[in-house]
């Protein structure tokens, strides 16, 4: 699915204008620990998170995240939105909680792009 379809699916609100809504989202990952994101996420995933600080965008950029969904209808600070705009990364706020969102996306056919520690070496190694 693409970012526009994702936004609709999570009843979300796109917070930044400079985002490519046609970008393909290949799977999902939910985490609040940024190191976990960096350790586990595969490229081109949507990141579901409760964190709102600009580091979410930086982390996403490093990890080739396709879109960020902020859970529970939180509104991130302006710095976060500005950075998302600068990096042209879709930042979406959804009214649903993390569990609900993971369920919805998984049901819609979005696979998990999270690796477990026991999955062994990733493409990085």
């Amino acid at each position: 699915m693409n970012v526009a379809e994702l936004t609709k699916l999570v009843s979300g609100k796109l917070l930044n204008q400079a985002a490519d809504l046609m970008r393909e989202v290949k799977g999902g990952c939910g985490a609040d620990l940024m190191s976990d994101v960096l350790a586990s996420i595969q490229p081109e995933a949507v990141l579901l998170t409760g964190l709102c600080n600009p580091q979410v965008i930086r982390t996403s950029q490093m990890a080739d995240v396709a879109a960020v969904v902020i859970v529970r209808g939180k509104t991130p600070p302006q710095e976060t939105i500005d950075l998302a705009n600068k990096e042209k990364l879709a930042l979406i706020s959804s009214p649903y909680g993390m569990f609900e969102l993971c369920g919805r996306l998984h049901r819609a056919g979005l696979p998990s792009l999270e690796r477990s520690v026991s999955d062994g070496p990733s493409e990085l190694e």
Binding site: T7, A39, T49, Q55, R58, T59, A63, V117, L124
Partner: protein, 350 residues
């Protein structure tokens, strides 16, 4: 045919509005003169409708302005031609069928002005006048679409050109050993700018022609190191990245406080980060583990009270190497790609 269909496309919901915003921005930046067709075919008031038909057919157009003594007096469209055909009146002059006093736009106006006219009227084309009122061009929705696409393409090409120039850096410069060194100063506790250096490094690598995998590995490793400098150091630190055709060397230095037990620090999940830092989503104790996963070689040297020096290397496989103009033998062939070496050097001299 050139008349807009009933206003279906005018219903714009939020979703659609969001998707057109980027193009809309350009609609404000671009001038009408930049997108209009300036090679125009004009008709005179005495031209016959038969000539209109010939012009439309040969030039493959569906409308043309009508001028009288150099002044725009009307516009004739396919629909007007059809009306004359229907009435078998092809010998009539254009003045009988043309629309008089057509809507016009100014060449210096932004494209958005023309879009507004198109949305609020049924016209298919707009004559463009300059400040003196002279006809200088004609504008259709197709011209606008093509103009916007060209502008988007230009944006894209600028980045491509930058990338192209950078990617040839190593090829164009001939030396015994060419390397590019990037240095960044990192301030302690500056979470707002945290990740900026990594972001710039990743972008630089991509411009230099690194593969997305290499840029990602390097980006993640440097990012974790950058965050560590922000969280833990007393006075901040320095990130130094040396890019060579066959490898990337990342060094970070700081002057304290130093790591008490390097071995323990390398353990997944071990962290000394404060609750405050953890609330920001960091300090899970996975930083060094993540770095080790991303690089081919990692050495952490630390002296309590003095500081920490982290050294990481990524070796580039043949297909990932930057095209270079290096002459002679390459040094340091002992560490060939693939010979993964996750060493921890401890100097806990406390």
């Amino acid at each position: 045919m050139d008349q807009a269909p009933p206003r279906k496309e005018v219903i714009i919901n939020d979703q659609v509005a969001e998707t057109i915003t980027r193009a809309e921005e350009l609609a404000y930046e671009l001038k009408i003169s930049e997108v209009m067709t300036s090679k125009i075919r004009v008709l005179s008031t005495t031209s016959k409708m038969r000539e209109v038909m010939e012009l439309f057919r040969t030039a493959r157009i569906s409308g043309a302005p009508v001028v009288d003594g150099g002044v725009l007096v009307g516009i004739i469209s396919m629909e007007d031609l059809i009306r004359s055909l229907y009435a078998s009146d092809l010998d009539a002059p254009t003045s009988r069928y043309m629309s008089r006093r057509p809507l016009t736009v100014k060449d210096t106006d932004p494209v958005i002005e023309a879009l507004k006219v198109f949305v609020n009227s049924q016209v298919g084309r707009l004559p463009v006048l300059n400040i003196e009122g002279t006809l200088v061009g004609i504008l259709t929705k197709g011209d606008i679409t093509r103009g916007l696409l060209r502008a988007l393409q230009r944006d894209y090409q600028e980045e491509e050109v930058r990338r192209y120039r950078a990617s040839h850096l190593f090829e164009d410069i001939i030396s015994g050993r060419t390397s590019l060194i990037l240095r960044y100063n990192i301030k302690p506790r500056d979470f707002t700018h945290g990740g900026e250096a990594s972001s710039n490094i990743k972008r630089a690598l991509l411009r230099l022609g690194a593969s997305p995998q290499i840029a990602r590995r390097c980006g993640i490793a440097v990012y974790e190191a950058e965050i560590n400098l922000i969280i833990h150091t007393t006075n901040g630190g320095v990130i130094r990245v040396e890019i060579e055709p066959h490898r990337i060397t990342i060094d970070t230095y700081d002057d304290g406080p130093g790591i008490k037990d390097v071995e323990l620090a390398m353990k997944p999940g071990y962290s000394t980060a404060s609750e405050e830092v953890r609330e920001l989503g960091f300090g899970a104790g996975m930083g060094l583990t993540n770095m080790a996963r991303c690089v081919d070689n990692i050495i952490l040297e630390s002296t309590l009270g003095k500081g920490t020096h982290l050294k990481m290397k990524i070796f580039l496989e043949k297909e990932d190497r930057f095209h270079d103009g290096t002459v002679g033998n390459k040094e340091d062939t002992s560490n060939e790609p693939g010979t993964s070496n996750h060493a921890v050097k401890t100097e806990s001299s406390d």
